[in-house]
């Protein structure tokens, strides 16, 4: 079965994305650390049976508490086909820090979910999506999970397959190297 791991910092809305994707009822709250253990759910994306795992929030791959230890263990043991890194759009750098660390240390295809897009807009934070996508070279999808906006784009099997194929050609570690090069040199006429 196709396996997706939902990772990200605490309180970015992973559990909301999870219940949107799977229709499963999980406890979601507005404080960091609601999910202290993993939850598995099942759904169909593009005709394919998919297992989705909601992982406790973590800031990095150097665990600081039991919930983060579980997150790291899931990453090592579950061997997912895809990781969706859920990022709070108002805290982009912090979310990408984890994404970079995952790309560096694990060879799993990755897509970015920029969640809480509405709050970022409300706070006057403007993210140049086109440029960000160009630099990262992986899908970046803005969502408002709590209302369901963008979840369909997130669960687009065609796009997911492309990411997986790209990884077959080039390891994520190499991909990260290219990202860093693009950051250093800047993208031409974005």
């Amino acid at each position: 079965m196709f396996k997706i791991l939902l990772m990200g910092n605490p309180n970015v809305g992973k559990s909301v994305v999870f219940s949107r994707l799977t229709g499963a009822n999980v406890v979601v709250s507005n404080y960091p650390g609601t999910t202290v253990d993993y939850t598995k759910g099942y759904t169909k994306i593009g005709g394919e049976e998919v297992e989705v795992i909601d992982v406790p929030g973590t800031f990095s791959l150097e665990p600081k508490d039991v919930a983060e230890e579980i997150a790291l263990r899931m990453l090592k043991e579950e061997k997912p086909d895809l990781i969706i890194d859920v990022i709070d759009a108002t805290k982009l750098e912090r979310g990408l820090y984890l994404a970079f660390e995952i790309m560096e240390k694990f060879n799993y295809p990755l897509i970015i979910d920029l969640n809480m897009w509405d709050i970022a807009v409300g706070k006057g934070i403007e993210i140049d999506l086109k440029k960000l996508r160009e630099i990262l070279g992986i899908p970046v999808i803005p969502t408002v999970a709590i209302s369901g906006e963008g979840i369909k784009e997130l669960a687009d099997m065609e796009r997911i397959k492309k990411v997986i194929m790209a990884k077959e050609k080039k390891s994520m570690n190499e991909h990260l190297r290219e990202i860093l090069r693009r950051i250093k040199e800047g993208v031409k006429d974005a």
Binding site: N11, V27, Y31, E104, G124
Partner: protein, 429 residues
Amino acid sequence: MHKLKLTPEERWDYLDKLAEEVVTLKPRRLSLKDAIGDLTIRPLTGIPIALGILFSVWMFFSTFAGFFTDGFMVPLFDEHYLPWIQDIFPKEPSWLYALLVGTPGADNCFEAFGVLTTGLFVPFGVVLWAIIPLYLSVALLEDIGYLPRLAVLVDNILHRIGLHGFAIVPTILSFGCNIPGVTAARILETKKERFMMMTILAIFIPCGAQLGIMEETIAGEYGNWLMFAIIGYLLLGYFVVGWILNKILPGRSPEILIDIPPYQRPIWKNLTMKTWIRVKCFLVHAVPFVILGSLLVNILYIVGIENGNLTLVSFEEGDRSIMGRLSIALEPILAGWFGVPKETILPLVTAFLRKDLAVAQLSAIPMSMYQLFTSVVLISIYFPCIATFAVLWKELGFRGLLKSIAILIISTFTFGGLLHGLWMLMGVA
């Protein structure tokens, strides 16, 4: 090509550069949300707001529970259901009657003790109507984003006992049910903090089910103040034991930073769904223990041991039952050290399984208000309910569990004995 390896500093450098490229901040005015957020964190305004919220939750809880329990459930159970079930059962005292219906001629479901009377009345007549408003309130506080702000507000106080302000979150959750409270303590950083938190939660924080019964029996008879006094005494224990543990346990309690999420409008569907998940958990996991608990104590009450053989004992010769013998054997401790009637052994046995049922059983034992105070404190702290016990075991491991139990036993004798001493000094023991 060798594998790329970055240090955290390098990662941040690249990310800063990336953010500079793609993120622009538009200046904006301070919003109402920011203003409210600020007011709830500053001590001068935050403390009155916190007290106001606590009071509102209390009012909602007691009004809601009172409306359904006193308004519908008590009349339904005591005036219709109890006479009916006493009527349809064969009249002469039989062991089956004693197990299922309980004390013959009981006129209310608190004192009947039967599996089909008290065993059903406690969960469905009282506790259910107490946990619905409590769980709903906790869910609302969780969803709007108030809890992390409360954590900032109480950070100073909790640091005195070596805990981070965020420890308030497991504590608040524990007032609903100890189990999610104990598991929420996982996010504390060091082993020491987690051990301390889980231990003092399981010992001192009364759960929603217990509060519901207390509201019905204790507050109903003596007034809310007695209930507040008991909760106050338990919270005192929470702080004192926390403070001592912080001093004697090795390890550190580091500062951690927490994120303050923006306030959010609660979504009704999420609130009801979350409350339902938790209520369902009560119905599926707790109700069987209530029923099992009333069955167990009744069996201990009607079965005696004569010359190594089990025999049935009638109500009049209750002293010869297993429970009766147990109460006589433990009388020196119960009456001598704690100053409570020896019959209190029955609710104490029940409390292994369910504290709500145990507090309900207290109301059938004749005792003074002061003895009631001590008994409720004993029931609260001497053992976490069996479900919490299992979770503690899972979280702390066997050795941790043993340590936790040692602290629990010392706490029970200290805080129970202290009350007895206090009553003696006041001349009311």
